[in-house]
């Protein structure tokens, strides 16, 4: 065997075949992540389709009553409740999240920032069941002091705790966006005689706006998909109302309510959770895509 042939010979030996197999296995693992998405879509569409053979899709989207036991499947009360609670959450979380982000990014000394930031992130990792308990056990009683006659189940308490859950999402992503604004831009404004407030509000926030808006959009998507806190705090009675002091059932709470009992496979109730699940999936997916688009389209590239 001549020397130049040797490496080539070794390369095509057993090791190379083994490596091909390993690579194939790794690729298969990566494919599984795609299969999960395909699985979600197929399951939701297939089971949802079964539901829509029994319930006309127009009734589903226009009906104002959701009483599955009476065969009334108008999804508006559920969708409305999800939106109401997400909006309350946003009203709570946007000021708290943006305020914290501005404080951490523009005002806080580095040492304080390193303490405060992880504390805020504890909230982000808080199991939602804990927030649901907190809503029922502490927030609603506190609210009842302000609004006498407030029921145990109400959208307000649910919205507040969900807001608490998404606050760190907004503050952390917005702060990242604000810190990505180059310091030279702040200096430029300070050099013109701007105060820190003006620099924060008129230079840094506008420059980071795409990231900030995206963080809010993502947070709202998270709020709509939130389950345990709203199930425990807002109750399980479908209620088409904009009054945050009333109890209402969200899409997610309905899925939980049905799952808790023994909905037999193949029953209309069983199929209905996939139908509303499909709606939830589409809504959150669309919102997430919007967030990604916002970041991509309006992102200012700083050299």
């Amino acid at each position: 065997m001549t020397p130049p042939d040797r490496p080539r010979a070794r390369r095509s030996a057993r090791g190379r075949f083994g490596e091909k197999a390993v690579l194939l296995a790794l690729a298969a693992a990566a494919t599984i992540s795609v299969l999960v998405t395909v699985g979600i879509v197929v399951v939701l569409v297939e089971e949802g389709a079964l539901f829509f053979t029994d319930v006309p899709i127009t009734e589903f989207f226009t009906g104002t009553q959701w009483f599955p036991l009476e065969g009334k499947f108008g999804v508006l009360p559920l969708l409305n409740a999800s939106i109401v609670i997400a909006l309350i959450a946003a009203v709570v979380a946007v000021p708290l999240g943006l305020g914290s982000a501005i404080y951490l990014s523009e005002y806080a000394p580095e040492r304080l920032r390193r303490v405060v930031k992880p504390i805020l992130e504890i909230l982000a990792g808080m199991p939602t069941i804990v927030l649901g308990f907190f809503a029922l056990d502490a927030v609603t009683p506190a609210l009842q002091m302000v609004f006498p006659g407030l029921g145990l189940y109400n959208a307000l308490a649910a919205g507040i705790v969900v807001g608490l859950l998404i606050t760190p999402l907004i503050s952390s992503l917005s702060e990242d966006a604000m810190r990505a604004v180059p310091n030279s831009m702040r200096e430029g404004a300070f050099g013109l005689g701007a105060t820190r407030r003006v620099v924060s509000l008129r230079v840094v926030v506008p420059a980071a706006l795409s990231g900030i808006v995206a963080s809010i959009v993502l947070a709202i998507s998270r709020a709509i998909g939130e389950t345990m806190a709203v199930t425990l705090a807002a109750g399980t009675i479908p209620n088409l109302s904009w009054n945050p002091l009333e109890g209402m059932q969200t899409i997610t709470a309905y899925i939980v309510q049905v799952s808790k009992g023994e909905a037999t496979r193949g029953s209309l109730q069983y199929d209905s959770i996939f139908a509303v699940g499909l709606l939830l999936f589409v809504v959150t997916l669309v919102i997430n895509i919007i967030a990604v688009r916002i970041v991509r389209k309006y992102r200012t590239v700083y050299q």
Partner: protein, 304 residues
């Protein structure tokens, strides 16, 4: 340059002498090589009275003594260039003049900087107001991600100047940018070229009607043509404003400046590197007959 006429000179305790002489440094062609133009033969007219008088200025960043013992004067309506090797603290010193160092956590400034007759480092001086009067242009063009017009109006609003169209136009004309952008004032500032962005930043600084403009290596991020445009602009601005320009480009300092301050680095016992002022003089003196051997080494290209 021992013949230098220096009527106002006092015997200060600082080893650094201050020479106020010669107007607009000979049209910008003076090569940096020493001896090209042997010392001035006639008594040079003095520059205007000093607007800044720095006395024993020092800057600490935490435990790092970044700059120490800078004593010099900055004449009004002239261009003073701060030159020196990188890391010599020239930008740090410049940033004392409008208290930008206040914004850096852990920065401490000592000594005195008299603006007119008042120490602007004094704690009862309002730094925000001060920065409106002493403008600054930075190393990299840093327009705000807004329109050209908004960039100009920002500073005016901040300083309580009514942002009229005339003022916007005037600032852009003064910054020699008007002809290029007059049709697209609403365009994003980022759509301009690097040189245009830097002129926009100068226009932004002019628009707030400052008395002094500090420039921190304003051309270092620009190509040669844009650099020349900015240099021409600086010379024009010197008629109305006092300019203090940091540059690492000696040719540029020779082309534009009336007075040159050369800073250098000293190693300390603890291994720290501290910037010190080696020499101040007219541009002609510094480039033709430097007194300090370190200056000479630097400008003849042996160091740095």
């Amino acid at each position: 340059m021992t013949t230098n006429v220096d009527p106002e000179k006092t015997a200060k305790d600082s080893p650094i002498e201050i020479h106020l002489a010669t107007g607009a440094a000979d049209g910008g062609a003076s090569p940096p090589a020493a001896g090209a133009q042997p010392g001035a033969t006639s008594a040079e007219p003095s520059l205007g009275p000093p607007i800044f008088r720095l006395h024993d200025l020092g800057v600490w960043y935490g435990n790092h003594h970044a700059v120490k013992g800078v004593t010099m004067e900055v004449p009004k309506n002239a261009i003073t260039a701060l030159i020196g090797p990188s890391g010599c603290g020239k930008s740090t010193a410049l940033r004392c003049l409008n208290r930008m160092n206040d914004l850096i956590p852990g920065a401490r400034v000592e000594g005195r900087v008299l603006f007119g007759d008042e120490d602007l480092l004094s704690s009862d001086v309002d730094p925000v107001d001060l920065r409106g009067r002493i403008g600054m242009v930075f190393q990299k063009p840093n327009p705000f991600p807004k329109s050209i017009k908004d960039n100009l109006e920002f500073g005016m609003k901040v300083n309580g100047i009514k942002p009229t169209a005339e003022r916007v136009e005037q600032a852009l004309v003064d910054a020699a940018l008007w002809d290029e952008v007059k049709d697209r004032l609403k365009a994003e500032a980022f759509s301009l070229s690097g040189g245009q962005q830097q002129r926009l930043c100068i226009a932004r600084a002019i628009a707030v009607e400052p008395e002094v403009i500090l420039m921190d290596e304003p051309c270092s991020a620009l190509d040669p043509i844009a650099t020349l445009a900015i240099e021409d602009l600086m010379k024009k601005l010197a008629e109305r404003y006092t300019l203090v320009v940091v540059t690492h480009n000696m040719q540029q300092a020779a082309r534009i400046s009336d007075q040159v301050a050369f800073m250098t680095v000293e190693g300390t016992a603890e291994g720290n590197r501290t910037g010190v002022l080696a020499e101040v003089g007219t541009a002609r003196q510094i480039f033709s007959a430097p007194k300090d051997p370190r200056t000479e080494a630097y400008i003849t290209g042996r160091v740095g």
